[in-house]
Structure formats: C-alpha cells, structure tokens
Symmetry: C2
Subunit: 105 residues, 2 copies
DNA sequence: CTACTATTTTATGAATTAATGAAATCATCG
DNA sequence: CGATGATTTCATTAATTCATAAAATAGTAG
C-alpha cells in the first residue's frame, strides 16, 4: 500500500488508457518508427502525434533516438511489449461481455 | 491491431489510471469489503466512493453482492489481482527513475 | 548564414472526467 | 405501512485532458 507506488502505477495506467496512444504503442510494437511515418499512417496532425509521444515518453513507455533530421521512437523495453500483448489478448477475450450485466453474483 | 480490442484495453487502463480508484482496488485485493468500510477507511464521501465503485464495476474489474442491507465488493477475479500485483511491483522498481532524463538513447 | 525539413513547445478552446450535495432507492425492522 | 440505515443515482460545478494552430527549435544542405 505504498502511496508512491500507487501513484506511479496510476500514472502509467493513465498513459495507457487512451485509444490513440495505445494505437501508437501497438504500431511501435512492430518496430521502431519515425514521427513522420506515424503522422502519415495515423492520418493525424504533427503536433497531435508529437504530444502523444511526449506523454508516452514522460511515463517511460517509449524511447527516442535521433537519426539525422528524423526522430525515431520505439518501445522502452520488452516489459512494455509484454504488457501490451497481455492487455490486448485479454481484451480480445473480454469483448463478448464488454457490457456488464446488471445483476449481482 | 483490432480496433475493438484496443478500445476495450484503453477503457480498462483508464479505469485503472486513477490513484483513488487504484487505492480501492488494492484495498479490495486484501479481501471483500462493504461500502461503509471503504468510506470510513478512505475518509471520503459516500457518493464519491460509490461513483468510483460504479466505474470500476462497469469495466468489469470488481463484482458486488448484497448481504442484507450491505453491499460487498470484491475483485472480479484472480486475473485482476495478478494485474494489480504486477503493476505495483513494477512501479516500485521504477520509482527511482520516475522523472525521465532529457537525453536520447 | 539562409533556406528548408522535421519535430517540439506553447497557448487555447473544447470535451471529458471527478467530486459532491441532494434526492431517490432498497432492505430491514417494528 | 412508516421509519431508519445503507447505497445509488442525478445534477452541477470544478478540474483535467485532448486536439490543434501558431510559434519556436534543431538538423542539414547549399
């Protein structure tokens, strides 16, 4: 019940708790990618993508490196990759009963 | 890359991505508990706790059952318990470098 | 240094979410 | 049924988050 750990975990979950950001992460799970490519693939504004990347990076979920004038992003480590895979697999399973029933038990 | 799965996962993460809600979940991970007890332990308003429980339940993270006039909540299943434990353990590890450095690589 | 491309930062308005008082519901007891 | 205690729902306000345009920064080429 360490409040610091709870807070850290909450921030992490919150960063993951957004469709567009999760989409970026799953895209990155296939391999490193530069901002322009993400912008093109996602069909979003540059600043929009950049903001999402910034948030993900501030929570330590992704890393970046610069190559000439391009900046490439990738998942921070294998742990993030695993976390993503688990979450998506589990969510696929849960899709059936995604609207919870009203009764108890 | 199933958009439905991504959306489901995002909703799940979002429900988890809040300190007060995570606190409730960790409390419940020690065992079933009724609303009054949570209200007392957390020092929050009844309606506040109830709203948090509702959100957690709507995402399938907790279950409830009624015993006479009291309503008891518990984690939905062992999977949620495991997810919580992993997240908190991992966040404890990460506490050192929770403020990411500015440099690349 | 100038021009150009890639990316980030800043500022802001719109949309979403969270907390809470008040009213409603639900179960139990007399 | 009427009163009481436990919990939920509703409505509203306050706080947070999101998307984006505009401005700034950084790298590269000439």
């Amino acid at each position: 019940m360490d409040p610091h750990a709870i807070d850290r975990a909450a921030r992490l979950f919150r960063a993951l708790g957004d469709g567009p950001r999760l989409t970026i992460l799953t895209y990155l799970s296939h391999g490193e990618c530069c901002v322009s490519e993400l912008v093109q693939v996602l069909g979003e504004k540059f600043s929009t993508v950049s903001q999402r990347l910034r948030l993900l990076r501030s929570e330590g979920l992704i890393r970046r490196r610069r190559v000439a004038s391009h900046v490439y992003y990738q998942l921070a480590d294998g742990h993030v990759q695993q976390l993503l895979k688990n979450a998506l697999d589990h969510s696929l399973e849960l899709n059936q009963n995604s609207i919870p029933m009203e009764d108890d038990e």
